[in-house]
């Protein structure tokens, strides 16, 4: 019965989107983290999604990995900062807050979409169960 597959597929979509939301939250929380050296600065993390072909028709989705953004971290001149290097610079994270907000909205919309698909399938299955009553 392939309506049951819908639960697995939509569930995989939901878990993938929740990974994305988690990473977005972690990026936003660390947007203001600073480090003494540029290579120690926090780098924005983003998930890489991959489709998994099932034996039949549908394909679920999984998170193949998490990549760190290669964008350069910003050097801030803050000589009074306890983590400043000898020249008085601290290195902030390379998180782009705008990008993260857009990412968050997109992830939550996709999540909702999967929830709705699951709800519709559940209703169809329940109706089918009542067939002939």
């Amino acid at each position: 019965m392939s309506l049951f597959n819908v639960f697995g597929i939509a569930g995989s979509g939901m878990s993938a989107q929740s990974v994305r939301l988690n990473l977005t939250a972690s990026n936003l929380a660390n947007a203001e983290s600073v480090a003494t050296r540029p290579e120690d600065a926090y780098r924005a993390r983003h998930p890489v999604f991959q489709s998994v072909l099932e034996e039949e028709a549908g394909a679920s989705v999984r998170t193949a990995g998490v990549v760190q953004s290669g964008a350069e971290s910003e050097a801030r001149y803050a000589p009074g900062h306890p983590m400043a290097d000898e020249k008085g610079y601290v290195y902030a994270s390379n998180v782009n807050a705008m990008e993260e907000m857009a990412n968050m909205i997109s992830a939550s919309r996709s999540f909702q979409q999967n929830v709705e698909v699951m709800n519709t399938s559940k209703e169809l299955l329940l109706r089918t169960l009542r067939l002939g009553e």
Binding site: M1, S2, L3, N5, V6, I9, A10, S12, G13, A16, Q17, R20, V48, F49, Q50, S51, E54, E56, A57, G58, A59, S60, V61, S106, A107, S110, Q113, N114, V117, T120, S121, E123, L124, R127, T128, L131, G132
Partner: protein, 131 residues
């Protein structure tokens, strides 16, 4: 017997359920790079199913299985890739609005087939009742 009783709707229901899985997969992969949205041409698949039903093998024993009586999975050839209206840079061809619309219409049509079956069953039960 059950083929004549329920007509095309039993098959239609099965195909609708499979198509729901396919559309759910498209929606779940809306953010997957290089994923290509797929769908089936419902009319041709159902037509093939109905055609297979008519040209069943001759059965010489009551326990013989009929040809084409079960609805199998989609053959690979019946799965078609959707033509994207707005191609995206990451190679993903899922248009969430289109998929959502197709999923909703698929669900409604599933309900319609179900309703036909329900009426058929309740009519049959009424006919069987001896009151």
């Amino acid at each position: 017997m059950s083929d004549k009783l329920f007509g095309i709707h039993a098959q239609a229901l099965n195909l609708r359920a499979r198509r729901a899985g396919l559309l759910a997969a498209n929606l779940a992969n809306a953010d997957t790079p290089n994923y290509k949205a797929r769908d089936v041409d419902f009319r041709s698949v159902l037509g093939a199913e109905a055609g297979a039903r008519d040209v069943g093998m001759q059965r010489t024993h009551a326990n013989h299985a009929g040809a084409g009586s079960g609805v199998g999975g989609f053959a690979d050839v019946t799965l078609k890739y959707r033509v994207p209206s707005q191609p995206s840079l990451d190679g993903n061809t899922v248009d969430e609005q289109v998929e959502k619309g197709e999923f909703a219409s698929n669900a409604v049509r599933y309900m319609a087939s179900l309703q036909f079956l329900e009426r058929r069953v309740s009519g049959l039960i009424r006919a069987l009742r001896e009151e």
